[in-house]
Symmetry: C2
Subunit: 394 residues, 2 copies
């Protein structure tokens, strides 16, 4: 037996693992220049500043009459100010403008169409306007030199639109991190084979891959490998990608080969004080970080959120997902010395969280029912009903 | 002048517009059967129940020794229970099991490896186990007939994994709604052309398209069309897709042709009590719903969230995005009779929202800086600092 004698705290494990993860740099290797129409949800690789004012001229913000604002003083429906309708603006003359038109020289405000009436060659103005009223000023939205997007921004629709407004059609984004995923275990069946006692379908591979996709990466999913240390080692040694994830074979049983495999190279840690998720290993193989996740699905999910997600965030200099403060609807307990990963169902109207009680770490259905999770720190016995805690959304 | 004399309330506009939107049905036309490896983020078209128990047998939840639990009564390190290590389980005999192995007949609990020691052909058990301790029961995760995913579920990694666990490799999802997007306006420049006074780059087309993508749809973006009623009408009449979005030309100016275009077919409404977003029109052209958004970017965004998003949610029988309760850090005011769409920056630690003050509806930079928005209802003058309001995340 090779027991987990000393468990590393979650914080320590995170620190060690992340110290082996490189942030993507602004080099050709890590950056792709792509068209903005392809950029939605990608992560900006550098700050982008505007080379123009937006708008790049004073413009009418309404359909109406460009005027010298001073000249409309005292205008009212009963005592309208009369102006000539012309092609230039001065104290006595106004010009029709459409929304978005450049303001004619001399004009400093727009009288809204509904606040005036055309009478032959004249316009009756029924309401005074202040200087710049109904005028969009040059640079009102963005000034030349303003930063439009920042390194690490996940591109939202408004980011894409503001780049186009500034005449920027290409943007540098980080390439997607490539994560090699290797599921292992003799007790597992690949999809398509017939179910038999003692065997379950392998599902961690597709789950890890799906999370990798969700966190902006590309998953390279290797077919299932049995409990064969040599084969596992061979696959890992030849694997591509920025990071290798394995699932299964991390506990203390006779077929748990990940320790042997990683120990031949460089073992970073083995066993972390996380529940579920204790049997987690990390190492370095051919300069590549390897994270070996437990085979139980929810343990696997817990460690992915605790270690894989921050690793991908570090690569991309960004943050994925939302965390928020909620009140607990029930007590939750934890073992001192362990960080507990507790799935919760959130009521977004009441901002409360209901812990989803489960008896085992294999319970995938507790995750499909959950909106997110909370963490009970290792030095805390639990939280009481009504306590305000941070929930992380899936 | 064709003023907005009667503005429809936002609720009324939503009701009318959504009444013209069909929910996708469980027909071949609206459903695609796809492999689960392609299903992430797609929307389930029907409930899917499991045809198997997961696990489909009682299994060891730990590496250790399968035993009859009764036989371990009173075991302790100083007074271990001695058992034969065999190939079947009875009161005197235990069997080595790996995590995930089917429980041998007769065995009802597993003594963890670290709670026992092998001594020759015997095993010393140091700790008693309860019935089913360290055993994952048949159907513990999912019982045959349990619903794994529901119609309208947006497929998360755990959904994909649970389907694979149940041996389900294909899933029915709704096809992506196809949204035809037509930007209009003489004041606009297509990308690539040189900037000149009175002209700005058209950016609503790519923004609407990006939101459509984000809300699970496919955008068919038509090139920019100028203020030409005939050309606009022609494009709309020949447009494909489930829904048509136009931007620009919705106000009361001489070049605002959307009213003419829609009036020739069926106008649903014109002008809604939303700020920004008042100049919004909807109609039906060749049985297809048309939503005409104002050209100002943030007005366009407001109406997309108020009307387009719920329309796409109705098509797909789902909900996109997250809303949560936050405390306002500043007073916000609104004009009675209008629903106000206010961009906010959210502090997720404090759960507070800071309104982003802007002077115009053209201010895209206020949206890239915002995390979401709040709505001030039409019968409310505003909210006070400290009030708890619902924020919708972008």
């Amino acid at each position: 037996m090779r027991l987990f004698k000393e468990l590393l705290s979650v914080d320590e494990a995170k620190k060690i693992f992340l110290s082996k993860i490189k942030s993507f740099g602004e080099t050709d290797k890590d950056v792709e220049k792509i068209r903005i129409s392809e950029a939605l949800s990608r992560v900006a690789a550098s700050d982008v500043a505007s080379s123009v004012d937006i708008p790049h001229y004073d413009r009418a913000a309404m359909d109406g009459f460009a005027v010298v604002s001073e000249a409309t003083k005292g205008a009212s429906p009963s005592n309208p100010v009369l102006m000539k309708l012309g092609t230039h603006v001065d104290e006595e003359t106004c010009v029709w403008v459409h929304t978005g038109d450049a303001m004619p020289e001399g004009g400093d405000a727009v009288v809204k169409a509904e606040d005036a009436e055309v009478v032959g060659e004249y316009v009756e103005v029924f309401r005074p306007v202040r200087k710049y009223e109904n005028v969009g000023r040059r640079g009102e939205d963005v000034k030349r030199g303003d930063v439009l997007i920042r390194k690490g921004d996940i591109m939202k629709p408004a980011h894409v639109a503001i780049l186009r407004s500034a005449g920027i059609e290409e943007v540098e984004v980080f390439r997607k991190p490539c994560i090699f995923v290797l599921p292992t275990g003799d007790e597992l069946l690949p999809p398509g084979e017939e179910l038999k006692p003692g065997k379950v379908y392998e599902s961690n591979g597709i789950m890890v891959s799906s999370y990798v996709t969700q966190w902006g990466g590309i998953a390279e999913l290797h077919p299932l490998v049995g409990d064969d240390a040599d084969e596992i080692a061979e696959v890992i040694e030849e694997a591509g990608g920025d990071l290798i994830i394995t699932t299964g074979g991390t506990s203390v049983g006779k077929r748990d080969y990940m320790l042997d495999v990683l120990s031949k190279h460089e073992l970073l840690f083995r066993g972390i004080a996380l529940r579920p998720g204790k049997p987690t290993l990390a190492g370095i193989v051919n300069e590549k970080p390897v994270l070996s996740l437990p085979g139980f699905p929810t343990a696997c999910i817990a460690v992915m959120h605790i270690l894989l997600k921050p690793a991908m965030e570090k690569m991309l200099s960004t943050k994925f997902g939302v965390s928020l403060k909620v009140r607990l609807l029930e007590n939750v307990t934890s073992k001192i010395g362990f960080t507990s990963f507790v799935r919760v169902k959130i009521d977004f109207e009441a901002m409360t969280a209901l812990p989803i009680a489960t008896s085992g770490s294999g319970i995938l259905s507790s995750v499909t029912a959950a909106d997110g999770y909370i963490l009970i720190p290792e030095n805390v016995e639990g939280f009481e009903r009504g306590e305000r805690v941070t929930a992380y959304l899936f």
